[in-house]
Symmetry: C2
């Protein structure tokens, strides 16, 4: 079994995750998160909420918007036109494949950035045939990954399931802005389900048809210089820049957070802020910082709305897996929704002191003009009506004539000073975006260890399904009763499980496999001298402590355990 298969086997057996609708043979890309998986997942979500929302609660708020989205929204966002994958159908058995994956797998050529005609030619030229029946392929076409549906009883009311939560933040931006502090920066976070109708979902949690996203749409003034990078002080961020990739380099460069800005690795300092935040979060999932780096996407690899994108990558054995994406969406979304909806989605930026601007304006000499004949008036108005003050000024300088008379007789341009207290503009958007199930999978796979033929899931206590397991050594009345008492006492301060069935060895094995960092055992000696055994999941070392010291000892152990 490969490492991945081993993780998937454990996940199934211990209630972490498994394919949905198994009794009906399963559906590709849909997974259930089991009892243990849901505990870990909920902790990952809360950790993200703490680090991305609560720790930034001066400027980040959380909202919830629907999955079902009317067509107009995805027309404006570009998803109807561009959220597609190239597919190709076998002429014989009618099986459908991702065309780019076929080319990559059978011709070892990257098809990223190629259009359908180019991929069709490649398939023909390389003689790629249906891997399932050997038949030949039709033409490559674009397949839209949005799940479609109909809203209400009228068949023309089309809707789609969102493939990202982002559009909910863009369409409600004005309402959130107005109902909160009415200041930039304003981060709008959302944790919610999304769906993508993948052609070939992968086994496991990495390419799913339905999953949970945690993302922030961070609206800011692109000229904002007041970015609290100091929060991440000397933190190191490893980046494989687009420049390095073009040189075929594979080794990321280490930057201090502030250096990302000073060395222009990011196009806006807020990109650095959120990348540093993501770095912190991922380290708390138990990933060593040597196994985290950001890979900048080349222009043709980026989504249509992005002017700079980094994928945060995790090294897991021989694999490199994307755990988050960091896109600079600029004003793409807000300006498109403003255009499509006809609503003003700009914000007003007040200058610290009003500025004086010189403005030219046109003054028509009405008294003089009204003395002229109708034709001249008409021709005059026609000539100047669509011109700017600057253009009229040029015509005057060139001594333009209307019906033989100088334009300057009827019109002049003057320059005046005006005070402006601020300006309207579309905020720009930085978007850090995580897939929850990816975080779950990566955390579990990263924590997977084998020790003397047994499996240990070395999860950090913060995301372990329980912090402490309580076991009576034997299924004997007094021991069970005492263990229950201790369990109830610990429950007020820890996330505790109780298990009294099966041999103690089996119970240790089970709690190691689901990643419980500490197991405490109540044995006959406890009844005599009030001491309790604490066993460490990773070292299997045991210590005995007095019951009175149990809570403090456990607190210290939990805080000090790195993973």
């Amino acid at each position: 079994m490969s490492e991945t298969e081993k993780v998937i086997e454990l996940a199934k057996r211990r209630g972490i995750f498994w394919p949905s609708y198994e009794i009906y043979g399963g559906i590709g890309g849909l997974y259930d998160i089991g009892p243990i998986g849901t505990r870990i997942k909920n902790k990952i979500v809360n950790l993200w909420r703490q680090i991305f929302v609560e720790d930034n609660n001066e400027f980040v708020v959380e909202i919830e918007t629907p999955i079902i989205t009317p067509e107009k929204v995805f027309k404006a966002s570009g998803h109807i036109d561009r959220f597609t994958d190239p597919i190709v159908e076998c002429n014989k058995c009618h099986k459908v494949y991702r065309a780019d994956h076929l080319v990559e797998e059978f011709a070892h050529i990257s098809a990223e950035g190629l259009n359908t005609t180019e991929i069709t030619s490649l398939i023909r030229d390389k003689g790629i045939r249906c891997p399932s029946c050997g038949g030949d392929f039709g033409d490559v076409r674009e397949f839209n990954l949005l799940f479609g549906t109909t809203i209400g009883p009228y068949s023309d009311s089309k809707g789609y399931l969102r493939p990202e939560t982002a559009q909910g933040m863009f369409t409600s931006f004005k309402r959130v802005y107005d109902s909160s502090r009415q200041k930039l920066p304003l981060g709008i976070a959302q944790i919610g389900r999304v769906a993508r109708n993948e052609i070939s979902p992968r086994q496991g949690l990495l390419r799913m048809r339905e999953f949970t996203i945690m993302e922030v749409e961070f609206f800011m003034d692109p000229e904002d210089k007041d970015v609290p990078l100091w929060k991440y002080g000397e933190d190191i961020i490893r980046v494989l820049t687009a420049e390095l990739k073009q040189k075929k380099e594979e080794k990321p460069i280490s930057y201090k957070v502030s250096e990302l800005v000073s060395e222009k690795a990011v196009i806006n300092p807020w990109m650095a802020y959120w990348m540093a935040t993501a770095n912190k979060f991922v380290k708390e999932l138990g990933i060593s910082e040597n196994n985290i780096y950001f890979e900048e996407k080349l222009p043709h690899e980026r989504a249509h709305y992005s002017s700079q994108t980094f994928d945060q990558m995790i090294v897991l054995g021989n694999d490199k897996i994307e755990i988050s994406g960091h896109a600079y969406r600029g004003d793409y979304d807000l300006s498109n929704h403003a255009k499509s909806s006809g609503q003003d989605l700009t914000v007003f930026k007040k200058y610290s002191t009003p500025i004086t601007v010189k403005k030219k304006s046109v003054i028509i000499n009405k008294d003089k003009l009204n003395n002229e004949d109708k034709n001249l008036i008409k021709d005059f108005m026609k000539r100047i009506s669509n011109l700017s003050p600057e253009q009229i000024e040029t015509l005057i300088k060139m001594d333009e004539k209307i019906n033989g008379k100088s334009l300057s007789e009827f019109v002049s341009v003057v320059e005046r000073e005006e005070k402006e207290s601020g300006k309207k503009f579309y905020p720009h958007v930085v978007e850090p975006s995580f897939g929850v199930e990816r975080c779950l999978y990566i955390s579990v796979a990263n924590a997977y260890r084998e020790k003397k033929d047994r499996i240990v899931l070395s999860l950090p206590p913060k995301i372990a399904p329980y912090e402490v397991a309580v076991f009576p050594l034997l299924e004997r009345g007094e021991l069970v009763e005492r263990a229950r008492k201790i369990y109830l006492m610990l429950k007020t301060g820890f996330d505790v499980m109780f298990d009294d069935s099966g041999s103690i060895g089996k119970r240790y094995a089970r709690s190691d496999e689901i990643g419980v960092p500490f197991a405490i055992t109540i044995d006959p000696q406890t009844l005599q001298d009030d001491t309790i055994t604490i066993r460490d999941r990773d070292t299997w070392d045991q210590i005995r402590v007095k019951e009175g010291e149990l809570i403090n000892t456990l607190k210290e152990l939990v805080i000090n355990k790195k993973r």
Copy 2:
């Protein structure tokens, strides 16, 4: 403005909830939950998880399953055939209406339980015409409320969005059972999005097209007598039984939890357990117990899978609003999925001591039979092959002949005693089910007060968006700095907000409107004598305490504040 309109206005203005996609004119039945609403909602979800899952963690686990569901599942569950509402279309303007609502609104007759032909006749007889254009109506037909979609690239792979999370628990029941303690009772909880394609969604959060459900599918042995009703001791549950309703009574009867069982108001004691749990949860949302009762559904009002249903109702002003449903689903779902999938979904129940059962079995006298000719052997085998031992015994008694020879020459039936250690059976299911947005709406509407022309949201501290607001009295450097210090100190123990913009009066008004129970103010006197003002949201009373006593005083105030 009605009370409802006032709540909706406040919700929009203060970021609690508002219609989704407002900039595109909105879509009926879809709502965004805003920054303040999401804080309240997350607390309601966590409170539910505490009371329904964590407090029952010996037998309840939480899982997560997909929204997108293949057609087979809803065929087996009965939703494809029966999850419908009657609709009728205007022949002139083609507007579509809920047929039963039309009859109720314009003829004041309840259409519950009537079929489409009967409603069609009623509409004709009562001369009901299109309220929008006055046109006449076509025939009433059933409209399925499942949102449909297509999974993957093949158009025949139909899927639907789940209208309840329940089917995810039924289809994964065996996997959850096997990966956890393999014992009944086993409650499987889920908190997740569902969608129902309502014809006429209501304004606000009460009948939405997409919402979040929190529910438990509680699998148990219907003979289980070991139900921990003692947990709810003397708690009173008010019930309007079906019997009372049939007598046109409107006043619920008060039962102690144990009396629900002894007086046979519920068909299984676990129904009483979960109704008592729901009662506790709803009281913690701030609802007075005098405004909570359970209404039993009449047989024709129940969903197709239920053999007893109670709606938990909340009295809000003149309205009665359903906050949760309690259905006894029996083995309807597991047995149907077993049939449709061909999988064994029973559990094995071990008897405490093996029981002896008498079993008849058939013994064929092979020696004798083999001496007969082939035709007789063939006829003999044909005659008995599909018969039970009992049926063969009857034939022998009636001296049945095969080709002129007695059947009893070749076959006999004997009775033997066998030991059985247990039996296989389908667990029965009790389902308590809450809509999260309904809980949010009801909590907010219930907390809505007006005091001297101002609005106060008297939420219990447990579900308030923040517990404490920190305000510097003036926007003056020293005060702001001191207030920030106190804010950071309080942040470790409380859910705190900081606000330093606008007049202190406006800030008090804002924090009252979003339901923050306590506001503390740092004023010039603080700088002199280290005292701080604590203001109560509901009484507007203020007390001054020393900074050193602030944390303990606040802790006490928060714990003691009922609402």
